[in-house]
Symmetry: C2
Subunit: 140 residues, 2 copies
C-alpha cells in the first residue's frame, strides 16, 4: 500500500535492497508478528540473499525509527510488527500459538492512573494475555 522507499527516506534511512525487502515482508506477512528468524526465512524463501545479521540490524533500526514495534513474548525471542500508529495489546493462545490483538481504553486509562499515583509517567507498557480456548479441559 504505502511506498516503502519513501517511508525509509522519511525515517532518515538510506534506501537499500534489504531494507525495502524487509519492510515488504513485514507488510505482506499474513501473521503480522514475525521473529527475526522468520523474517530471514521469508526473505530466503523469496530468493532474497540477505544475512541474518542484517535482518537483526535492520529490525533494530526500524524499531528506533518507529517503523515497527518489538514485542518480547514469553519464551525468549522477540517478534516484530509494522507500527501502524495504533497501539494495542496481545493475547497469545497457548495451544495454537495464534496472536490476537486487542485494545481497551479503560485498561489504558487505569494504567496511567496507577503510574500517576506512584509519581511516574508511562514510557511504555507490555500487556500479554496467555489464553486457551474455553472448551478445552486441562484438568489439573
Amino acid at each position: 500500500m504505502t511506498d516503502k522507499p519513501e517511508e525509509l527516506k522519511k525515517a532518515g534511512l538510506k534506501v537499500t535492497g534489504p531494507r525495502v525487502k524487509i519492510l515488504q515482508m513485514l507488510e505482506e506477512a499474513s501473521d503480522r508478528h514475525l521473529s527475526a528468524e522468520e523474517v530471514h526465512k521469508a526473505l530466503v524463501e523469496n530468493g532474497e540473499d540477505v544475512g541474518l545479521a542484517t535482518v537483526y540490524r535492520v529490525l533494530t533500526q526500524f524499531e528506533a525509527a518507529d517503523l515497527i514495534v518489538r514485542h518480547n513474548f514469553d519464551g525468549g525471542h522477540s517478534v516484530y510488527e509494522l507500527s501502524d500508529g495504533d497501539h494495542h495489546d496481545h493475547m497469545v493462545c497457548t495451544e495454537t500459538g495464534s496472536v490476537i490483538e486487542f485494545f481497551d481504553e479503560e485498561i489504558e486509562r487505569i494504567q496511567k492512573k496507577i503510574a500517576d499515583r506512584h509519581g511516574y509517567e508511562i514510557v511504555a507498557h507490555n500487556l500479554v494475555l496467555y489464553v486457551k480456548p474455553k472448551s478445552t479441559d486441562a484438568s489439573h
Copy 2:
C-alpha cells in the same frame, strides 16, 4: 519465616542443600526480583558452592511447583520472585531499574472479560509498565 524444608516436601521435592539455600536467598533478598545469575551470585557470595546450571534447574522446578513466579521483563532475561499467593503486576522504572508491584482489580476483571469475549480463558498474563519519574525531563 516459613519452614523451607517443609515447603519443599509439601511441593513433592526432595530436600537438598541447594534447594533450601536458593529458597532462602529468594526470601532474604532485599530486592525480591532476582535473575538466575543474581541468585547464583548471592549463593557464591555466601560461600555456597552451587552451580549455575543447578540454579536454573531448581528455579524451573520451583516455578512448576508454584513456589516462585517467573517474569520476563524486556531485555531478554527472566527474574524470579517468591510466590506468596498474591497476584500482582509490575512497574519498572526505566531510570533507576526499581520494580514496584501493584494490583488492580478492575484491570483483572476487564482482562477476563476480553478473553471471554474472544472465546478464551486466561492461563496467565503479563502486565509491565515501563515508567519514568514525572519530574524528569528527558527531552527528545
